[in-house]
C-alpha cells in the first residue's frame, strides 16, 4: 500500500496548497520547486500559496468506462478547471447532473472521498468540483 505517497500530498489534496513564482508571479499546482517559465531564476524563490478553490470548466468528458476505484460513480463527469489563479486542475464534477456540465460553468472545490485501498486499506480524500454557490 502506497501510504507515504498519499500522505505526502495531503496539504495540496486537502487545502489546495500551490506555489507562486517569486520571479513571474505565475501560480502552479501542485507546488513546484522550479518555475517552468523562469528556470534557475526561480529556485529558492517559490512561495507557498493556497488556491481559493473557485474556477471555471474549460473542458470535460462524461466517463462511462471507469477503473475499479470509480465503479460506484460512473458515469461521472471529469473536467479540467481553470482556477481563478490561472492554473488548471483535473477532477470530477459532482452535485449536478452530468447533462448540466458545460464549458464555462463556474465551480468550487468540495472535500470528497477519492477512493480506498480495498475494504481494509487507507481511504484517500481530496478535491472534486461542484457548481459554485
Amino acid at each position: 500500500m502506497a501510504i507515504p505517497r498519499f500522505w505526502r500530498e495531503i496539504p495540496s489534496r486537502y487545502n489546495l496548497v500551490a506555489s507562486k513564482c517569486g520571479n513571474c508571479a505565475t501560480v502552479d499546482f501542485p507546488p513546484r520547486e522550479v518555475c517552468p517559465r523562469c528556470g534557475r531564476k526561480s529556485m529558492g524563490n517559490m512561495e507557498r500559496v493556497k488556491l481559493s478553490g473557485r474556477g471555471q470548466v474549460v473542458t470535460y468528458s462524461i466517463i462511462h468506462d471507469a477503473p475499479k476505484e470509480f465503479e460506484m460513480m460512473k458515469p461521472y463527469a471529469l473536467a479540467i478547471v481553470q482556477m481563478d489563479e490561472g492554473v488548471r486542475m483535473t477532477s470530477q464534477i459532482v452535485d449536478c447532473e452530468n447533462a448540466e456540465v458545460k464549458i464555462g460553468m463556474r465551480v468550487e472545490t468540495a472535500f470528497r472521498r477519492l477512493g480506498a485501498e480495498g475494504e481494509a486499506g487507507i481511504i484517500h480524500y481530496g478535491y472534486k468540483f461542484r457548481p459554485e454557490g
Binding site: I10, Y14, N15, M72, M73, V94, D95, A110, F111, R112, R113, L114, G118, I123, Y125, K128
Partner: protein
C-alpha cells in the same frame, strides 16, 4: 464567564429517498409508514461521501461564517459519530488537517449513539471554560444505516454539524448544561456488524422519553425556567413523532419546535440530528432569543442545553455558504436500487 457557540456550520447531502420507495421493496405500505413516523424523506450520502467528508464540509462552513476566528486557535476537535469510516483512526485528525488547525492541538473521536456530538459540545465547553484552549470544535456526523427492511431503514439518514465552542465572540451563550445517563440497552451495534439492532417498543418510554424528559426537568430546575421562557425548543429527532410528543409533554408549542424539526425532510442524522436542528434555529434567531435543546443517545443518555442568542450572532456572516433551509431543499430523489448501491447494501465481488 460563560462558554457558548462561536460559530456553526452544517452539511446535508443532496440525495433523498422516500418511505414510499423503501416500503415498496419490502412489501410495506411505505407511505403509511412515513405518516406514522412523520418523515417525508431522508437524506442519503453519495458514494464519495462519508462521515469525514461531511464533517469537513460542516467545519469549513462554520469557519467561513466567522473569518475572524483563526483555525490555529481551535485547540481541540472532537468528532462524534456511530458510522466513523475507520474503527481505528480518528475522523477528527482528518478534519483538523482539512481546516488547517493541525498540528498544535488535540483531537479524538466520540461515540454515544446519537448524542456523540452533544457530548463533544460539553467536553469543549469544559476545555474552554478551564482555559486549556481558546476554542474547541464539536462535530456530530453520521451516515447511519438501518438494516434492510427494518423500521429504522425509513429514518436513518446522513448529515453533519460543527460547532466552534469558546468563551469569547459568542453568538449564543450556553447558560446551563446538564445530563442524564443510565445503562439502558435500547439500541446498539456490535463491532463488525453492518447494521444496528434495537429493542422495538423498548426504545420509547424506558429509553428516549425517560432520558429526554428527565434531563429536561433537570434543566428547567437548574435554569429556573418554564417552557414559555423559550423562543425555540429542539429535541433529538429519531422520527417526527417522538420529539413532538416529548415537547408537548413538557409544555412546548408547535411554533417553538417547528424550525428545528428537520427530521421530517431529511430523516434522523443521528449524531448530527439535534445539532442540525440547532443550526436551522441559529440561521434565523435574533439576539436575546432563548433556545431549549435536549438531545438523546441510545445506551442511553441525554444532554440538555439552555442557550441564549447574543448580539454576536449578527457579527458573523450567517449567509456565507448555504443555510440549513437551502441544504434541506436541495434535493435529488433516488430509487431504492440506487440507494442500495450508494449505501453498499449490494454485495460486490471481492478483490
Amino acid at each position: 464567564m460563560k462558554a457558548g457557540i462561536v460559530t456553526y456550520g452544517a452539511y446535508v447531502p443532496r440525495y433523498r429517498i422516500t418511505p414510499k420507495e423503501i416500503g415498496a421493496v419490502w412489501g410495506v405500505d411505505g407511505e403509511a409508514m412515513g405518516k406514522s413516523l412523520n418523515i417525508r424523506a431522508k437524506s442519503v450520502p453519495g458514494p464519495d461521501e462519508d462521515v469525514i467528508t461531511m464533517s469537513v464540509e460542516a467545519a469549513r462552513t462554520a469557519l467561513k461564517k466567522a473569518p475572524g476566528i483563526s483555525p490555529k486557535d481551535v485547540g481541540a476537535i472532537y468528532v462524534g459519530s456511530e458510522s466513523h469510516p475507520y474503527a481505528v483512526k480518528p475522523s477528527a485528525t482528518i478534519v483538523a488537517e482539512a481546516i488547517e488547525a493541525a498540528p498544535v492541538m488535540t483531537a479524538a473521536d466520540f461515540e454515544f449513539a446519537c448524542k456523540a456530538g452533544t457530548a463533544a459540545i460539553q467536553t469543549t465547553m469544559g476545555l474552554t471554560l478551564s482555559d486549556m484552549y481558546k476554542y474547541g470544535m464539536a462535530v456530530g456526523s453520521d451516515t447511519s444505516q438501518g438494516a434492510p427492511g427494518d423500521a429504522l431503514e425509513y429514518s436513518a439518514s446522513a448529515g453533519a454539524a460543527a460547532f466552534v465552542i469558546g468563551k469569547d465572540h459568542l453568538i449564543a451563550s450556553i447558560d446551563h448544561t446538564i445530563s442524564y445517563t443510565t445503562d439502558t440497552p435500547d439500541f446498539w451495534r456490535r463491532e463488525g456488524q453492518a447494521y444496528p439492532s434495537h429493542g422495538g417498543r423498548f426504545t420509547g418510554e424506558p429509553a428516549y422519553f425517560k432520558h429526554v424528559l428527565s434531563c429536561a426537568s433537570l434543566l428547567f430546575k437548574r435554569a429556573g425556567t418554564r417552557p414559555e421562557d423559550y423562543d425555540y425548543a429542539v429535541f433529538h429527532q429519531p422520527n417526527g413523532k417522538f420529539p413532538v410528543r416529548a415537547g408537548k409533554t413538557l409544555g412546548f408549542k408547535d411554533e417553538q419546535m417547528d424550525t428545528g424539526l428537520l427530521v421530517r425532510e431529511i430523516g434522523n442524522t443521528y449524531s448530527a440530528a439535534i445539532m442540525v436542528g440547532l443550526c436551522a434555529i441559529l440561521d434565523i434567531a435574533k439576539p436575546g432569543n432563548r433556545i431549549f435543546a435536549v438531545g438523546y443517545g441510545s445506551g442511553a443518555g441525554s444532554d440538555g442545553f439552555d442557550i441564549t442568542v447574543t448580539e454576536g450572532v449578527d457579527a458573523i456572516d450567517r449567509r456565507s455558504g448555504r443555510t440549513m433551509r437551502q441544504m434541506v431543499e436541495d434535493t435529488k430523489f433516488l430509487n431504492y436500487a440506487t440507494y442500495a448501491k450508494f449505501r453498499g447494501k449490494i454485495r460486490m465481488r471481492e478483490g
